[in-house]
Symmetry: C2
Subunit: 222 residues, 2 copies
């Protein structure tokens, strides 16, 4: 095993995908999986999986495949997923509310426990049992609670200001839904969720003529 | 300019990020931007931007920077964003409903115009003015409408079945929210939206001790 700093971030980013696939296999009653089977499920090569896992030790015997539950437990341990993480959510607009009510985060170990907004009409109200604080209270409230993870669901124009406050509050991991690339110090991680950008990177490959036919046929052109 | 097939997908994936940043600059009244200024805003090098854009032609004069609005228009044209795209949405659970009500897709050129679910109690009902059809009607309805883009918001266990139906319906671009890697033919593009995976790839870098202190202090540890 190498030191943490030597493991490329791209490898760390693949581990949740491995965990997700292993979890699915476990739920289907599968007990053993080869690196090529696992690879074909998630669109990477067997060699890639073996190389990624080799950063963390030996997880399978040559020719025997991996024990699904054992490998899953190991990856969950590496990623610190054996505990529930408290999360601060900034931005309680349509998107923020959808995130609070979604439920899929808590199931997977991320519990939203602190809410922030800048709209005076929302400050002091409660959502899902949690009081909504003003942005300006981020450093104090987040530090007091000892949180390390935040989700940003504010408009682009407010995102950097909010991120600066989260950094001041010692947040080290930020999931950013705002359509802007935010600046953070080297010890803070960010990941962007950008479904519109994902769609826009696919329309490049599509046929605009066919779409125009659709639009005319459905009264949506012009 | 090179042929479409020669442009790496990773370049295409960066174009929406460039467009987003240029759009922001335009809204701020900025008329000219250098590749290094644009790069520092989105966390890539100036050389990377120049190399990416060189696939599509010449967009700036040496030492003069880019005209923000011209470059934005060019990228939007390359990505086929000058028209509204019709989108099929499969899965009208919590997540699907949040996507329908979100509004951020339509603003950016993606209009959800066909809805599908497998829950008998939802079939035939209306959401946002659109009738909900059963999965089994995907090939017929989607083909009739001439759609090329779909969003999948179903549970992992149904995702591959739904994707197979979308492929049968000639859908060529799939935004997948299901926590599973789906299999598609080479002429179909997929992008995954996986906020839980994104969070899980950051907790690796966090301090579990600090989180445990948070949990004990806040009555969440057992």
């Amino acid at each position: 095993m190498v030191k943490d700093m030597d493991i490329p971030d791209i490898v760390i980013r693949r581990l949740p995908i491995y965990a997700r696939s292993l979890s699915y296999l476990a739920s289907e009653g599968v007990t053993t999986v080869s690196s090529s089977e696992l690879g074909s499920r998630i669109g990477v090569t067997a060699a890639q999986i073996r190389r990624d896992l080799s950063y963390f030790g030996e997880f399978g015997k040559q020719g025997k495949g991996y024990n699904v539950q054992f490998l899953l437990n190991q990856i969950r341990d590496i990623l610190h997923l054996e505990q529930q993480w408290g999360v601060a959510l900034v931005g309680i607009g349509h998107l923020g509310k959808a995130i609070v009510h979604y439920g899929g985060f808590k199931d997977k170990g991320f519990e939203i426990v602190a809410l922030f907004d800048s709209d005076p009409s929302k400050i002091g109200s409660e959502l899902d049992g949690h009081k909504v604080y003003h942005y300006s209270e981020i450093p104090q409230v987040v530090k007091e609670m000892g949180l390390e993870v935040a989700i940003v669901a504010v408009p682009a124009r407010s995102a950097q200001e909010v991120v600066d406050l989260l950094v001041e509050a010692d947040i080290k991991a930020i999931l950013n839904y705002a359509p802007i690339t935010v600046q953070v110090p080297p010890d803070v991680r960010t990941r962007n969720i950008d479904p519109v950008g994902a769609l826009q990177s696919m329309t490049y490959y599509l046929d605009p003529e066919k779409n125009m036919t659709y639009r005319i046929n459905n009264g949506r052109a012009f």
